[in-house]
Amino acid sequence: MPRIDAHVHVFARACSEFPREVSKQLPADREESVEKLLAQMERSRVDQAVLVQIGGKNLEHHAYLRHCLKAHAGRFLGIGLVHDDDPSPQDHMDRLAVDGDIIGFRLMSMGGPADPLAPMDVRTFSTYPIWKHAAEKDYVLWLYPQAVDAHTVPFLIDAFPQLRVVFNHMLATPGRGSFSWDEKGRPLVKLSQFPPLSRYATMGLHRYENVYVHLSGQYAFSKQAWPYRDLTEWHQRLHIPKDRMQGFGAARLLWATDFPWIVEEPGYDKMTRVVEELMPDLTQQELANIMGRTAQRLLRFPDLPA
């Protein structure tokens, strides 16, 4: 079975060949190269991965992502970034997707009303042109909405039932001020409770067959060390129906490590085992789906040479 890491980040030192935005967490001289990722993948027998753009939304900021996709064709697929308030994002999206290896775009805001009681006309949402174009071009949308967006997402998904949508990081939606970085340089998200309260708005999306969830980022949400057993119940709820919740099933869950943030702690190899640790009752087929087949089928990963 293929093992596919469905959400990782790589970036080069900021330079003229690979320009990117610089921040305290991503200083100009830091790199997390694709070669480093490949070494980790090979040690842990992971075959393929989804490279998710980091370091800026402009076309030029995607230079390293495009370089990696070209240099390792067949091994990776890419998710780009797009300005979520761009009224005409079509050209940006198409230029990034022209080679067929950037297959979708990540959104971290929906641009709809912050008030759930306000009229909800998706055509007025700032990201509507992105959703519409993605649906027309069969791009994937990679969603990491904020808590303030959670109630708006179902309207967009309902409007575009043909669009492939992957919720990031266990369907979590960070609230304002909940995001920071820990002492190990990893994202840290402090939610008031987990499962997140936004689940009331988003869990019902299991009824849409085009909606998927990736299981990753546990380190950022858990209050415990690997294997993050305080997230066991939520993993199982996302998988199977339980009590009031209804699950997505293994055919709509994707495993991911969120490299590079996990390399130092707990280590890449441990992250390849987190699903088995938190969902020990999975059948072999279910485990195979979550660890790669779902991603292979959904994202249309090419077969690797034997």
Binding site: L117, Q146, H151, F155, T202, G204, R244
Partner: protein, 212 residues
């Protein structure tokens, strides 16, 4: 004062729910609507702020500490329109356990799937839902599976679409309608596909348990 009739008792035993139409009407209803809207308006800014912080859900909006806010809410606990039903169904030793004053925004998905509140082997509980404004079937109406409150009922599979639950009833109703249901039974809130929020009040009752 409502009188419990044999048909209501029979329906309660067999099906686990009873509907009281016009449980609140006239000035009673108008006072309730006014208190609901006033408290909701007072709480809304805080709710929106907490929603953005991730400390309140956006899928529903509950008025905080309603019993301290207006006597009209406390008076619902033993309203004459249904207190006799509570007496008959739970006994004189029943206790009022809580109240939720809830606004349910429109959404393509429900905030909750089919579920019972309690395991079959637990003491009897009742919930009573009052519609504060008219609730059409597609307006987030309460739904219940008649007979599902019985210990030998089911099993009930979980369905992707709420509408697929066999035998369920969806309770549309006019403002002032009260629905009593045994919350060992399977129930949910249907999807609110209208453009208006559902406004309702949910009261919970149980039986006093002997102290150790």
């Amino acid at each position: 004062m409502a009188r419990v009739n044999d048909a209501q008792l029979e329906q309660w035993k067999l099906e686990g729910y009873v509907v009281v139409e016009e449980a609140l009407q006239g000035d009673d209803l108008r006072r309730l609507q006014a208190a609901f809207d006033r408290c909701a308006a007072q709480d809304k800014a805080a709710w929106l702020d907490e929603l953005a912080l991730g400390t309140q859900p956006g899928a529903f909006f509950d008025i905080q500490q309603p019993l301290e806010r207006d006597r009209v809410f406390a008076a619902l606990a033993d309203h004459p329109s249904y207190v006799d039903l509570l007496m008959d169904f739970l006994g004189e030793d029943h206790v009022f356990q809580g109240i939720q004053i809830r606004t349910l925004p429109p959404s393509p998905v429900s905030y909750v799937g089919w579920h019972p509140d309690y395991a079959p082997d637990t003491p009897q509980h009742i919930k009573l839902q009052i519609y504060v404004e008219d609730v059409p079937a597609d307006g987030g109406a309460f739904a219940f599976v008649p007979g599902s409150h019985k210990p030998d009922a089911g099993p009930y599979p979980v369905y992707d679409d709420l509408e697929d639950m066999p035998g369920h009833l969806v309770f549309s109703g006019a403002a002032g309608t009260a629905i009593l249901f045994d919350n060992h039974g399977w129930h949910t809130s249907m999807v609110n596909t209208t453009s208006l929020p559902r406004k309702s009040i949910i009261l919970s009752y149980g039986v006093r348990q002997p102290t150790a």
